[in-house]
Amino acid sequence: MYEITMPKLSDSMQEGKIIAWKVKPGARVREGDVLAEVESDKATMELECFHSGVLSKIVHGDGSEVPVGEVIGYIDAEAKGAEPEKQRATAEPPEQKAAPKEKAPQAPKAPAPQPAPVTATAELPPQKPAPKEKVPAAPKAPAPQPAPATPGAEPRAAASPRARKLAQEKGIDLGQVKGTGPGGRIIAQDIEALSPGRASPAEKPSAAPVRQAAEPPPAETRPAIKPSPDEELPAIDVTEDEAEVVEAAYRLKTQARRVTAAKHVIPHFYITRSIDVTRLFARKEELKQKYGATITHLVMLAALKALKLHPEANRSYDRGRIIKWKGINLGLAVDTDEGLTVAVIRNAQALSLEQIVERTRALVEKARSGKLSPEERRHPTFTVSSLGMFDVEQFEPIINPPSAITLAVASALAAPVVKGDKIEVGRVMKLTLSCDHRIIDGVTAAKFLGELKRLLENDEELLAEN
């Protein structure tokens, strides 16, 4: 028994259509006879008989569309001298063996993001990469990045052009970065992983001057690299019985560097006023019931209103540029198990008290569980820090850049209040502004603080819908 299969009539043919059988079942057929007309993707061709015998069965009739290789009929081979043919059931199209395909290189895995957010701060002053860059001496303090630079690092950190550009924009020292690209190359995502959402203004890159002798470029073309502030402090040497020493968490190291830099670089000045919050304090329960609000929320509301009247307090200074923020991103310092975090309510300027309460609640929860998104940490234009629950009379916080002002909310304590020419017992809360003197002057601060006082001492106006 010989199988007649749908023939492959052209290289591209996948299936064919039987236009018409030219012989009927039971007919004698001979080698070379035309069995049927078959239509391929290109043309109509004749299906040739390759084995003499009797057409015993037609499996697919006229008009059938059949895949190449499938049986369409049978021929009983002639008994005389013919052996039963062993045929393969299907014809696979000859395999195209492709040229050895290289596996696409596995994308290097990004370093796992740290659970605690990293707020955007300049960690080191920006470095202009010199053409033959030497890695600056590794600082004695532990490097803030996930992996410390290898001692005696190669003179040339392998980094992709994009990584170099990003590193320069963000002021990151390539020598401190561990690369995850092929061959240990630093690639863009290695830089991005270090300081998400941070963007330092890009400087025009300078290359070496035309004169290039055997020596490296003269010192003046390479910017001076400021040592880390930590280096100026004597190291603390301890013995085992004196103290237990553990490595600080990455998050803590980052914060340490951040606040050190903020204090080191920004010229702080402080201005304090006592706010008579007797009336607000008296309405505590009511406010809690109606809005879910605490005094701190009211301070935030007051700050937003005051900022709208004093937009010059909603600006930042950075390397010769004044950043005039279009909205108010209200930063709120949140105390978490892993230290202080600033959660940011973006575009808070139009929020009502209820909205402030709700947003704050959500952010605090996220902050405490380490789930703030980069957006929720990005660019607080004004920061509020409250220690009200701790009976603190007054404190002067370190400014949280890019905010030019950080507002410290102390506790509302029982205190004598002057009313006319009488002294009464009331509740007094001290508000302190820590101000960036590069962009905020005393007058601005005083006016702003005055507005805050006025609002907080006029609760009706404060709580009025506007």
């Binding site: 053409p131 980094a159 300078s206 290359a207 001057p209 035309v210 004169r211 290039q212």
Partner: protein, 325 residues
């Protein structure tokens, strides 16, 4: 040691190889009686006779096809195509027969053919006579392509090409025929696939071949006066080209410029740049530069034509751009 011209160096190589191996035969248009339109085959007919040195009709395709048949029967043909521009007529035989027959027939044939062809522009010969065709050959697996820049290399590389059992395209530059150079006595065959560092430097690597090697050298001299030390590499072989020498150099200098006479599209410059990028990416301080010919058919007018061909100033400009502030 003698000082001879590029032309005479090739001529010497032909003489020596034909003496050394009786299966070497030379043929082409006007190569025998006329002694070659560029006189490269001078004296060969007289020395070796009409069976080994003969003229053909103007039939480039058949010249190459004939070389293939001769080679299949054990000869070592060294045909000449009068200029590279006429190679177009033989492209089917070169690229679609000669280059692939060994592979296609499963290794059953070897074709020890060397096709000599001069090319290059700059002599007001018009667009149809001024091509640099190396790219077409270099692109094709199965061929080897060499392009000497000096008389010594011309001689050594031709000897190597003739002795190579593979089809070799031996490119000559018409403008270099009169170039004088030192050629050591008893110079032996070169190694195909080796570039030469003609000048050492630490600031940038200039890569050239053929006539452009000399342009690169001129540029290097002038750059040195401005305290930029250029390393100059003459590729010498275009396929297979010496990736190692070039990338090792760039790893030291961190900058590279390729100088090529034809237009840049998919040319030697692109090939070299891609390889540099792949091999020594992290050593680059600047993208690889290419100084190439203008992307037009070469015009007849003298100054217009010169504007199409790279000169030392173009190379210098490209190098300086890599150092600009």
């Amino acid at each position: 040691m003698a000082i001879i011209s590029y032309r005479d160096a090739i001529n010497q190589a032909l003489f020596e190889e034909m003496k050394r191996d009786p299966s070497v035969i030379v043929f082409g248009e006007d190569v025998a009686l006329y002694e070659g339109s560029f006189k490269v085959t001078r004296g060969l007919l007289k020395e070796f006779g009409a069976k080994r040195v003969f003229d053909t009709p103007i039939s480039e395709a058949a010249i190459v096809g004939m070389a293939i048949g001769l080679a299949m029967d054990g000869m070592r043909p060294v045909p000449e195509l009068m200029t590279v521009n006429f190679a177009y007529l033989a492209m089917d035989q070169i690229l679609n027969h000669m280059a692939l027959m060994r592979y296609m027939f499963g290794g059953q044939v070897k074709l020890p053919i060397t096709i000599r062809m001069p090319g290059g522009g700059g002599h007001q010969l018009g667009s149809q006579h001024s091509h640099s065709l190396e790219v077409h050959f270099v692109h094709t697996p199965g061929l080897k392509v060499v392009y000497p820049a000096t008389p010594a290399d011309a001689k050594a590389l031709l000897k190597a090409a003739v002795r190579d059992d593979n089809p070799v395209i031996f490119l000559e530059h018409e403008g270099l025929y009169n170039l004088q150079g030192e050629v050591p006595d008893g110079l032996d065959a070169a190694v195909i696939g080796q570039a030469a560092v003609l000048r050492e430097g630490r600031d940038v690597t200039l890569i050239g071949y053929g006539a452009m090697t000399h342009v690169a050298l001129q540029a290097a001299e002038q750059l040195a006066q401005e305290k930029i030390e250029a390393e100059v590499i003459d590729l010498r072989t275009l396929r297979p080209w010496d990736v190692k020498t070039v990338t090792e150099s760039v790893a030291r200098t961190h900058r590279a410029v390729v100088v090529e006479e034809p237009p840049p599209h998919c040319g030697i410059g692109a090939e070299v740049a891609a390889n540099i990028c792949e091999q020594v990416f992290d050593e680059l301080d600047a993208p690889v530069g290419r100084v190439s010919g203008a992307d037009v058919p070469l015009p007849y007018a003298r100054e217009l034509e010169q504007a199409c061909i790279p000169h030392a100033e173009d190379v210098i400009r490209a190098v300086k751009k890599m150092f600009s502030v």
